[in-house]
Structures are given as structure tokens and as C-alpha cells.
Symmetry: C2
Subunit: 765 residues, 2 copies
């Protein structure tokens, strides 16, 4: 796969050939989005080869009737999916009556680039039609300045003769999901109309029996032409509208069209306002020149990079990888809307469905804390707070108290239906609270806990208190029947990570309730927490069973884990990998192989509770059995590897994270990008190589440089400061770009960072 994008550029992803067989992969890689909407890298023209046409609108979802073999009590009735929606990029092209089809026509000099610095997708190629040669130049972007706006500029130059060119820009809402359990359609046409240079369309998600919201989406297009128009006509049907514009092009002349589209939905407006809003926004935008609109857009992308960019010298592929990950992460979510979250495939595919997984809290939130305004992370917390009622209903369904956040959801209602995940992968509940701690500790803003967070903290504590049981024989609290982060074991007893985070949640609840009781007792009262309840939480957390092996001096992943047969991944014949494609499920489950960080996830989360030696012992024990078949795994292992000074391993695992999609490591990028795990490469650098931590509300670094790099540097927002860190092999420069002097710790030594400090590592030793 590597060949398709192996022309590596630090700010661009370049595809310099067209590969019919790899079209889906290229479509995934060339995805763009602006947080409000997004799309796979489909062509504007007709393409008759294999393709997954996909465009998606954030927060618009559909409850697909669930499909399952054997029903269990408590299973959800539907699986929420982002419906593949209106195709608004489409432009059919006819040259002298021959339709331009990139699969069938004689295409040469194909070149496409994703300009990550500016958020633009560009493409050009030449095509030979009956001996006449033409060059096409196409630019597309989804504006981050006007979120409802999509812009396409399509130019054609006649290279060796004149010709008649027909452009048919259209809007089409006759769209089906590839992923639909019963091959049902998700959309109804409402209306469509067209006029000269203009067209619009209105479509509505089908009524459903689950009483989830119905969404209507409006789309309006406006066409500007460059060149002399010979003829124009238009038409519209139920779920389709087009303009048909014929222009003459002379030899060496360039003609073209600009297609401006605005998209609105009933998430923001009532249905009968939608088209008017589309028009209002569109009319303002089309009064501007193309270049002006583009500039407004790129300026904002440049601003994002100013605060978030990580520069790596000496390793172009690492550099491209981290930028690609940040680009796609920001294209999916930049925190403007607390009703939204970060789906595992963002706007780049349909697999997994759902909007929200624990990935958000565990992997994405720290990135936004580091590079964006704190309101972004806060919005992610508010999202969960707003779904507390549903989480309480969910716990009740399972016969439990408190709140259990769902594994997969749009609106807070559980969507997933494998019993071993839905009912048992409950550690996710811990990450919801951990994110509150993370935000509070990082920002110092206790206001969120006071206002909203305490309600979540209390209900999650109640959940754990009702989910544990006392083993009377051992006089310890236990949690049986769970699936840990390592989904390659199911329905296990006493997963250390789950027990540990449950214990921590209870302690954190006690701590915060007691703190609030003094100064803001209304927060405690509104949650009806009694002293008896606090006492119960305290007892459970004190007597929580945490599997540990005295002989090996390691944490034990769960009961019976050490009874397994142990084989190291390196000794496994290559043809067995990936296990999830090669082995039957039972064989995976009883094996020692670990899908993703489990004990290590806990050591990462609660890093201040373990010595470096403990971390090393556990890393050394578990790493050799870990197959990293979750996209979320390598980053955590990379961070701990840095911490325990195994930089070779840390770099190897970083690369796997950072170039997972660009290099199609798991051979599944054609389904879409691994958006949530993209945050992992930022973590691998900042928490990993640079060793940034914020324990006890103090910023600290322990920078290391992988030998493959000459230097790396990045900016970090920490509370009211903006700090620049520049790491060379022996020299560390830290600058205070914004904010008052601040106490920081580097390599364990305290400094007061006024303007800047330089630390010579060799002198430290």
C-alpha cells in the first residue's frame, strides 16, 4: 500500500498516481472535514470504478434496527449511525459529448494533494479525449470560517484544440448507507428545485419506531462560471437537482466553474427555515471573490497550526504522520459544539457507527487540553453531563444503581450489542470520571466539578458501589464478569484495570464530596449523598481486590491470567497475524495475547502511583504479549516505553500510531480513518518523548530524543501560559510565550520559567 503515498512531504499528503484497486484507500486518506460536516475523498466527476461515496453531517444520525443472533435482556434496540447524506460535490463533465470518467478515460499525470497547512484538497490531471488533450485543475475545501459552506473550483484547460465542455453540477440525496443492517434506506426526499445557476434540495431521515429525533437537511448550490456560457438548462426531481452548463473552450484557454454549497440542518433551525438559511449564508458568501473565501479559511487553519503544530527535524515521515493525525483530528472536532463528539471514523467511513466511545475521554481530551482553548475539553465533559439521565437508565436496565455510560452512543442511549462489551466493558465508566479529573487538574478550574461534574462523579461512584460484590471468603471486594480494555479476553474476573479505576472513582468521589460539603454543600445535597454512603464508598475502595503476583512482582491483568500458556508475539509465526483475522475467537480469548494496553493503560492514567521500576517490570512483562490490534494500543505503550527509557521501542510504536492510516498498517484504512486513535501520536510525543506531566497541578517535562530525529519542538497551553518546548539531543529549550512566570519541573528539578530556560542534558548527568 505504501507506494500510493510514498512521495512524502512534510505538509502535504501526495498521491501522484491513480490506482483503481486502491481507490477506497485513497478516498479515506484524502478525506476532509470542518467539524460540522465532512467527506471521503471522492471525485467530483463520474467514477465508475469501485468507490465508497460518503459525506456526513456531524450530529445527524439514524437508529438502524439492530441485528443480532441471540437476544439478551438489556440489549439496545438500535445501532445509531451517521447516515451517508446528500452528495453535494458532484459535477458531471462532458467533453465534446464524452463523459469524463476517471476509471474509463485515458487519464495521465494524475496528481492529488491534501494540503494540510491550509486545509485544501487539490487535484490535477490531463485527459485525452479522441486525440484532444485537456488539463483539469480542481480545488475543494470545507470552510472552517463559515461551517455550512463547501467550495469547489473546477477548471479545464484545452491543451491542443478547442472543444465543447458541459458541466453538470448537481445535488443528490438519493443516497444509501453501505452499512445498513437490513439494507434499508435512511432518507426520504422532501423537496427539490432548481433555476439558472442555482438548485436546492431538502431531505429528511425516515421515521423510526425508536422515537429518536428525525433530522432534515437542506442544501443549496450556486454556480459561478469562468468562460463564455453557450447554453444553460436545469432540472429537478424528487431528490435531485442539477444545472447543465455548456461552454466553449479554445486551444490554450482555461474555463471553469465554481460551485458553492451551503448545508443546514434541523439541529440548528426549524425545517421550514432551512433553505432560507442556506440562501442567506450562500448569498453573503457568493458576494465575495473565491480567493477571499479561501483566505478566510486558510487563515484559521494556519492559526490552529500555530498553537498545535509539532515540528520534527530529521525524519520526514514522522513529521508528515503527526501533522496528518492532527489535521484529521481537527477536521473531525474542534470543540465548537458541545452536542458533538468524536466518532472513531469521523467523517471518513461508516464502520463502527456511533459518535462516542471512551476513546474521546482517554485519548482525545488530553490533546485538546494541550493545544486548544480549555472550553473545547470542557465541551466534551458537558456532552457526557448532558447524557447523565440516559446513563442512569442504562445502569437501571442492568439492575444496578448510579450511572453506566454507554460503550457506543449518539444520544446517551447504548447502541452496542455484544453482551461481553455492552454489559461488561464497564471500565469505560472510569474514563468518564478520569476526564473530569484530568480537565480539573490540568486547567485548575474546579468550577466544572461544582457546577456539573460532581453529579457525574457521584452517580459513577454509585454504579461501582452496586457493581462490586464482597467475596466473603477473602473479605475483599471484587468485580466479576467484565471485559477490560484488552478485548481479547471477555467476561473475566477482577480485571486489575477495572478494579483499580473503580477504586479510584470511589476515592475521587469521597474526596470531592467532602471538599464540596464544606463550601458548596448544595452540590452534595442536590445529589442526596449521605455520610453513610460516603462511608460505604470508602470501605469498598479500601477493601478492593487488586490482583498482584508476589513472585514476579507484577500487577496481574485478571484472575487466572498467569495460568495461561505464554508465548511471545515475536515467536508467533507471522501467518497468525493479525489474530483477529486468522484465529477463531475462543483461541484468541484463551491465549496470552493482548489486544491493547490494559494494565499499561492503568499505569499510564495513574503514573504517579507507580515507581519507574514497577513500570518497567510491568512493561517488560506485558509488552511481549501485546499484538496492538487496536489502533489505541501503540500510543500508550510508546509513552511508557519512553518513560522506562526504551526509546527504540517507543519510536517503533510511535511510528505505528502516527502512520497507521498513511501506511495502512492494519489493512483496513479503506473503511475509513482511525480518527480517535490519531490523538495517540500527539500523546506519544508530548507525554511520551517529552515526558510532559501535570501531577499535583504542576507542569513537568522529562524530554528524550529518539535517535531517528535531530530535534522536535511544540507548543503547549497550560493554564494561562503558552509554552514552547524545543528538544535537541543534549539541549532542551523551554520558552514562556505567553503568561506570567510559572513553576515547572524538568528532569525532576524545579525551575521558575520567566522568559526561557535552557537545560544542557549532558551537564545534568
Amino acid at each position: 500500500m505504501k507506494c500510493l503515498f510514498d512521495n512524502i512531504n512534510e505538509w502535504k499528503v501526495i498521491q501522484d498516481k491513480i490506482e483503481i484497486k486502491e481507490n477506497r484507500l485513497a478516498e479515506s486518506i484524502m478525506s476532509i472535514g470542518n467539524g460540522y460536516m465532512g467527506m471521503r475523498g471522492n471525485y467530483e466527476e463520474r467514477y465508475s470504478g469501485d468507490s465508497h461515496r460518503g459525506s456526513y453531517i456531524a450530529g445527524v444520525w439514524f437508529p438502524d434496527k439492530t441485528r443480532v443472533g441471540w437476544w439478551k435482556n438489556g440489549y439496545p434496540e438500535y445501532f445509531g449511525k451517521i447516515p451517508n447524506s446528500v452528495n453535494y460535490i458532484g459535477i458531471r463533465i462532458f467533453i465534446d459529448g464524452v463523459e469524463l470518467d476517471l476509471e474509463k478515460c485515458n487519464v495521465e499525470n494524475f496528481y492529488r494533494e491534501l494540503d494540510m497547512k491550509n486545509g485544501i484538497l487539490k487535484r490535477k490531471f490531463t485527459v485525452n479525449i479522441n486525440g484532444k488533450k485537456f488539463e483539469a485543475n480542481i480545488t475543494r475545501f470545507l470552510s472552517v470560517s463559515v461551517k455550512e459552506l463547501a467550495v469547489i473550483k473546477y477548471d479545464i484547460k484545452a491543451l491542443n484544440s478547442s472543444a465543447k465542455i458541459k458541466f453538470i453540477p448537481y445535488l443528490d440525496s438519493n443516497i444509501k448507507n453501505e452499512d445498513s443492517n437490513y439494507e434499508e434506506e435512511f432518507w426520504n426526499a422532501v423537496s427539490s428545485s432548481s433555476s439558472e445557476y442555482r438548485g436546492n434540495i431538502l431531505s429528511r431521515t425516515k421515521e423510526n419506531t425508536f422515537k429518536t429525533p428525525i433530522f432534515t437537511v437542506g442544501a443549496t448550490m450556486h454556480i459561478k462560471t469562468r468562460g463564455k456560457v453557450d447554453d444553460i438548462s436545469y432540472l429537478s426531481t424528487d431528490n435531485y437537482c442539477e444545472n447543465s452548463i455548456t461552454m466553449d473552450v479554445l486551444e490554450n484557454e482555461t474555463i471553469g466553474i465554481e460551485k458553492y454549497v451551503t448545508i443546514t440542518s434541523t439541529r440548528d433551525y426549524s425545517e421550514n427555515e432551512l433553505l432560507k438559511k442556506c440562501d442567506d449564508i450562500l448569498n453573503i458568501e457568493i458576494s465575495k471573490e473565491y480567493e477571499e473565501i479561501l483566505n478566510e479559511h486558510t487563515k484559521l487553519w494556519n492559526k490552529r497550526w500555530e498553537s498545535a503544530d509539532i515540528k520534527i527535524e530529521g525524519d520526514k515521515s514522522s513529521q508528515q504522520g503527526i501533522r496528518y493525525n492532527l489535521f484529521q483530528l481537527f477536521s473531525t472536532y474542534y470543540g465548537e459544539d458541545s452536542r458533538l463528539n468524536i466518532g472513531p471514523k469521523g467523517f471518513t467511513g461508516e464502520k463502527y457507527g456511533g459518535a462516542t466511545y471512551w476513546d474521546t475521554e482517554a485519548y482525545c481530551l488530553p490533546v485538546y487540553l494541550g493545544v486548544a482553548d480549555k472550553s473545547v475539553a470542557r465541551n466534551l465533559l458537558v456532552y457526557r453531563y448532558n447524557q447523565l439521565k440516559q446513563a442512569k437508565d442504562n445502569a437501571k436496565k442492568l439492575g444496578l444503581k448510579g450511572a453506566l455510560y454507554p460503550m457506543v452512543t449518539f444520544d446517551g442511549v447504548e447502541c452496542h450489542n455484544e453482551w461481553e462489551i455492552t454489559f461488561e466493558e464497564i471500565h469505560r465508566n472510569g474514563s468518564i470520571v478520569y476526564a473530569i479529573y484530568n480537565y480539573t487538574n490540568y486547567t485548575g478550574d474546579f468550577g466544572y466539578i461544582k457546577e456539573k461534574g460532581i453529579d457525574v462523579i457521584v452517580e459513577v461512584a454509585r454504579f461501582w458501589a452496586s457493581r462490586v460484590h464482597l467475596s466473603t471468603r477473602k473479605d475483599l471486594y471484587m468485580i466479576h464478569g467484565v471485559t477490560g480494555p484488552n478485548e481479547y479476553e471477555n467476561n473475566i474476573n477482577n480485571n486489575w484495570y477495572t478494579n483499580y479505576i473503580a477504586k479510584w472513582c470511589l476515592e475521587y468521589a469521597v474526596e470531592n464530596v467532602l471538599k464540596l460539603k464544606k463550601e458548596h454543600s448544595e452540590c452534595v445535597e442536590r445529589n442526596n449523598v449521605s455520610l453513610e454512603e460516603i462511608e460505604i464508598w470508602r470501605i469498598i475502595s479500601k477493601k478492593m481486590y487488586l490482583p498482584y503476583d508476589e513472585e514476579l512482582q507484577i500487577i496481574v491483568q485478571n484472575d487466572n491470567f498467569l495460568d495461561k500458556e505464554f508465548i511471545e508475539v515475536k515467536d508467533l509465526p507471522k501467518e497468525n497475524l493479525p489474530l483477529n483475522q486468522k484465529w477463531s475467537w475462543d483461541k484468541i480469548l484463551r491465549s496470552c495475547f493482548i489486544k491493547q494496553a490494559d494494565v499499561l493503560q492503568g499505569i499510564y492514567y495513574f503514573g504517579n502511583m507507580f515507581t519507574k521500576e514497577e513500570k518497567k517490570r510491568n512493561f517488560d512483562f506485558y509488552e511481549k504479549y501485546t499484538v496492538h490490534e487496536s489502533s489505541l494500543s501503540s500510543s500508550v505503550y510508546s509513552i511508557i516505553a519512553s518513560e522506562v527509557d526504551d526509546l527504540k521501542k517507543a519510536y517503533e510504536l510511535y511510528s505505528r500510531t502516527a502512520r497507521l492510516d498513511l501506511d495502512n498498517y492494519n489493512n483496513d484504512t479503506n473503511d475509513g480513518l482511525h480518527i480517535t486513535s490519531m490523538s495517540g501520536s500527539w500523546l506519544s510525543i508530548i507525554h511520551g518523548f517529552a515526558g510532559m506531566r501535570t501531577w499535583n497541578e504542576t507542569l513537568s517535562f522529562e524530554p528524550k530524543l529518539p535517535q531517528e530525529w535531530n530535534n522536535y519542538s511544540f507548543n503547549i497551553n497550560y493554564r494561562d501560559n503558552n509554552i514552547h518546548v524545543d528538544v535537541y539531543s543534549n539541549l532542551i529549550k523551554i520558552e514562556n510565550l505567553k503568561g506570567k512566570p510559572i513553576k515547572i519541573i524538568v528532569y525532576g528539578e524545579e525551575y521558575v520559567l520567566e522568559k526561557s530556560i535552557e537545560i544542557n542534558r549532558s551537564k545534568l548527568k
Copy 2:
């Protein structure tokens, strides 16, 4: 529910009222079958109320496309189902132009009885049509003398006036399964035709992509009339044919028709012969009088009862229960055809699909050993032997050696797709070998092992040898990731029952291979068993880990079981039961509650390996946590309860087994009868109360009498003897009805049974 059948008769099941709401339940209870075909107790006439019309032909099956949420490697592609097939009982009745519909018409004096002694379903009622009263009398049976033959006699008597009666007997193959994953139809019409008093129809199961066999079924009807025929016409469409026969009935006169149907299928003949074969058989039968055909049928049922009946005095409901169970079991399977097996719902419903579960080996085979010719049990073994190749393929799919028999199957290919069952409930493999042991030990016929059995024994041993792993820490062989017979725990480690039966299978393989090596080495050679392999089996069986608790001195069901929270079933609020309807799956799984005999199943199978005290300790420990939510559970517990002298419990559990369907204990009999578990009530009496065992190839008894009964008696085939046992409270009479004198053990004392012996229990003590 009890009210519908509470007119208890020792040889009949009587329904003396019509209950629209309970129609499905009544249809299940009134099912009849002859091993070759069978049907639910639907009415012949139109019935517009809620009904599940069902008739099924043994061995004719269809691969329904499997439906599942999340696919796992190794899942089967289809779920085999017995397709609901041609409706051949239908007779529409019009009286003076008004259609007789038991839901809509004014029906009185409804009476239906299932005559178990003779295998006949009878029904009568009066109906008032526009002031005229009529009495209907209907008899139906599926001949056990001519398996292809179904007979219905439908008489109408005019009670207070004359009338015009139209009978429309028909065949209809326009049939859909209630249970079809994608609501697909399973049948294609092939042909149909009709003539005066005659009609036939041919239908074929749809082509499928799974390359499983396609079946064609032929049906021919012949109508005889009693009374003067006024008019006759006939018609046929694609998948339907009828006769329409009008007759005049005078006041006090009885007229009627007899409908004779023969059914053939491509299991026995080629498609183009089917209708001819139907005709051939039908023509012979219709040359006889109705009474003659009926007599041939009832004679054979009477013969079955002669050898199999259990007489209970003093408890009509127990008596009816055991007879009902034997009646339905024999209606499903009487061993004539080694291509067939015993589906959990027989011919009485569609739920569960599949033909073959481990129920057959564990529960049904001992019954046939006791009451039928040994060829019946042998045929059940041959069925599995013939599917050895598929079982080897199945093991291979899971990356294992040897053979893994499927959980659910028609043709040997696994049909079931819950990973925790399909891949993990592997103890089933042990029962396949145990059945061979059981047959051999019971009959003394080692020939089966020599000819066929050893191949199965060897391949199952190979499976276990590849499925265990050595825990190097404990230097013991373990089996991780299984589901035991107690399906209320999944994916557990070291289920004692599974480990024990695996160990036993390995020992039994070593024993038989060594035995054959001496005298029939070709049997060993054809299976390529080396001395090294035998040695491995020996080592594994010696070092198999068997969880045991020294403190409680009980067998431990599986690892971590004793860490659970323990609550007794009696202390559980009633509204929690049945757990499988009230609790979420995770709550069930982590609870201490046991669905069905697990440790106790092992103690029952290997009863000679445990002392009475050990049995009692384990019974006492596990019984109180067992909810018996499998129909297979109560019988095993009842047997052990008898053994440890808890007769009160034994009787309670017997009743639950014997009247499970008649009393609709689990509130699910409307889906069909629990055919395979019906054998459990025979076991509860013979192995339980009468304490019959055959350890070391010696027949022994330890009879006890529940205080609810005055006396019980039964016959048993044991090798060449037929033995009658008669149990009174203090007196045991044992007669040798057939065969040479035989050594038997009663209450631990050896006797030589010449003609008969009498043992006075009070004198024994």
C-alpha cells in the same frame, strides 16, 4: 395454564374446553408424530384465531441464512431448520354455506383427547349454525405401521334438522416458517394436480448458496366419503390442490369423509418417483377398511407400551406425566433410521432449529437402551460416526486437532453462532464418547467400538489433547475459555465437568486403543495412533487439573466460583424468576445461580467414582443455587436426590420434569414441547427412584418409593433379558420375563435372578 388439561387421565390428555388465548399451548400439547413425520395439534377446519400451523418431515431441513450482530471467525454461515411443510390435514367445512371456524362459530361441548395408548388424536364438539345443531367427530393418526401415511376421519351428525354440508379437503404447500431470519420462504412449488377424490402436490426446498441438500416432498390425498355425494369438483393451483364435495345430511344422520394422505421425499426416492410412490403406498392402504388401518397402527403402539410402560399407582398426575413424555419421545424417534436424530422440539415447533444436540447422547440414549432394541441406540451412535468428517473440519476451523462435534446440527456442520456456545461449550464432545461407553457397557457389544466407535474415540481424544494447555506455574493441564453445562456462566476457566470428562475421554481412548492393539490392530492402524500419542494422552489425563475445595470438601464448578456472592434460590424474591427473563445477562453470569446440572452432571455420569457422602456434599452445596431454567436440569438433580435419600426433593424435581409441558412450567410450551428433556422423567424413575445402574457390566437396583406413590413398576431390556421390576414401600419384586438367569445386585446384595425374586426391604434393615 393448568386449567386447560386438568381433567387428568392416566392414558389420555384431555382438553374439555376451547380457550382461544391458549390455542398455541393446546396445539403444542396435542402434537402427534410417527418418527417419519409429525405435526402440531392444529384443527382440520379453518381457524381464524391465533395459531401456529406446523407440520414437519424428519430429516428434511433448510439452511437459513444466519443472522448475527458481530461476526467472529469460525461462525457457521447458516442455521439449519426443519421447514414447516405441506399442510395435509386441512379440510374446510361449509354448513349451509357458512364456513365452520372454531374461533368464530358458536361451538359447544368441545372435547379433545390425545389417546396415548393408541396414538390417536380425537376431537368432538357441537356447533349451532343459524339455529341448526351439528355434532362433529374427528379422529386423526399418523400410522406407525405405514410411516408415510396420515389418516383423518371427519364425521358430522345433524342433530335437529337436515343440511347441506360441503367438505373441501386440500393439500397446501404455500407454507412459511414462523422462524425465518430474513422472512424468506423455504419452499418452491413444483407441481400439483387434482381429480375426483384425489389430489397431489410436489414442492421443493429453495436452492441455497451453502450447497446443502435440496429436498423435494410429494403428497397425495385420497378421499373416501360416507353419505350421499351431491356434487364434487376439484381444482389445483401452483402449490395447492383440493376436492370440493357436497353432501346432504338428514336430521339424526351422520355423514363424513376419510382423508388418506401419503408423504414421500427425496430422502428416500428420486424426485420423479415421489408421486408414484405416494400412489403405490396409498393404493394399498385405501384398499383396506379404516378400522383395519387403525388397528395395525394401535397394535404397534400397544407393543411399544408393553416394553416401555411405567405404571405408577396412587398418583394420577405422575402417571400421566411419564406416559405423556414417553409418548412424545417415541412419536419423535423410535430409531428406525440412523440418518435421523432427536430435535429438542421434535415435530412440535420451530424454536432452536437443528436436529441434534448433546441432549440425545446424554438424556435420550439411555432410555432407548432400556426400552427398545439395542439397534435403536446403536443407530444414534452411527449417526455421529457418519458425521465424523464434519466434526474434524469443525475442529480444524478452530485451529485444533481431532474432532469437535457441533452444538447444533443436521448434517454434522455446526449451525449455532454464539461464540460462548459454538466455540466454547465443548463438553458436548465428551458426551459423544460417553454414549459409546454407555452403549458398550450396557449391551456388552464391543463390536461397535471395533467397527466404528474407536474412530470417534480417537479423534475426540486428539481434540482434547490439543485443546488443553499446560500451566507451567502449576504443572497441570488446564482447559481455559469454556462454557460448561451450566450456560449461566460463559467463557470460564477449568470447568470441573469439562476437565473431568476430557480426562475420562483420554483414559477411555488409551484403554480401548490398547485393547484393540492386541486383537484388532487394524482398528488402531486405520487411525494412525502411535505409542507416543497414547503416552501423551496418558500424561495429560494424569496431570489434568480438577478444581476442588479442601475446606468445603466439594468439587469446585470452575475457577473463581467460590469467590462469588452466594445467595440461595429460596431467598431470591420470586419476581426475579425466571432469571433469563428478568435479569440482564451479565448479572446472571456473575451470579452464583446455576441453570442446569453441571458438577452434578459429572457425578451422575461417573457415579461409581464418588462415594455417597461425596455425592451428598456436592448435591447439598449446588442444589440450593440451581434454578433449573433448562428443561434438562431437574431430572439429573432428581436422580442424585434419590441416591442421597432426599426423596422429597427427588419427587419435586421429578414432577417438574414429568409435567414440564402439561403444566407449562416454564411458560414456553406454546413454542413447542421439550422433547429431548422428556427422557429425563424416565431417567428420574429408573435411574433415580429405582436406582438402576450397570457399572462393571452388572445390572443393579436400589429401589426407593416416593411417599406420594403406592407402587410403581416397569420393564427393562438388559442384554438378552427382559426384566420386570415392581416397587412397593417395603417389597421389591423382580421378574425375569425373558432370558437366561442373570446376576443382579439389589441394595448392594448379589442375586441370581432365575424367574423372580422378592425382597422385603424392612428385613434388610
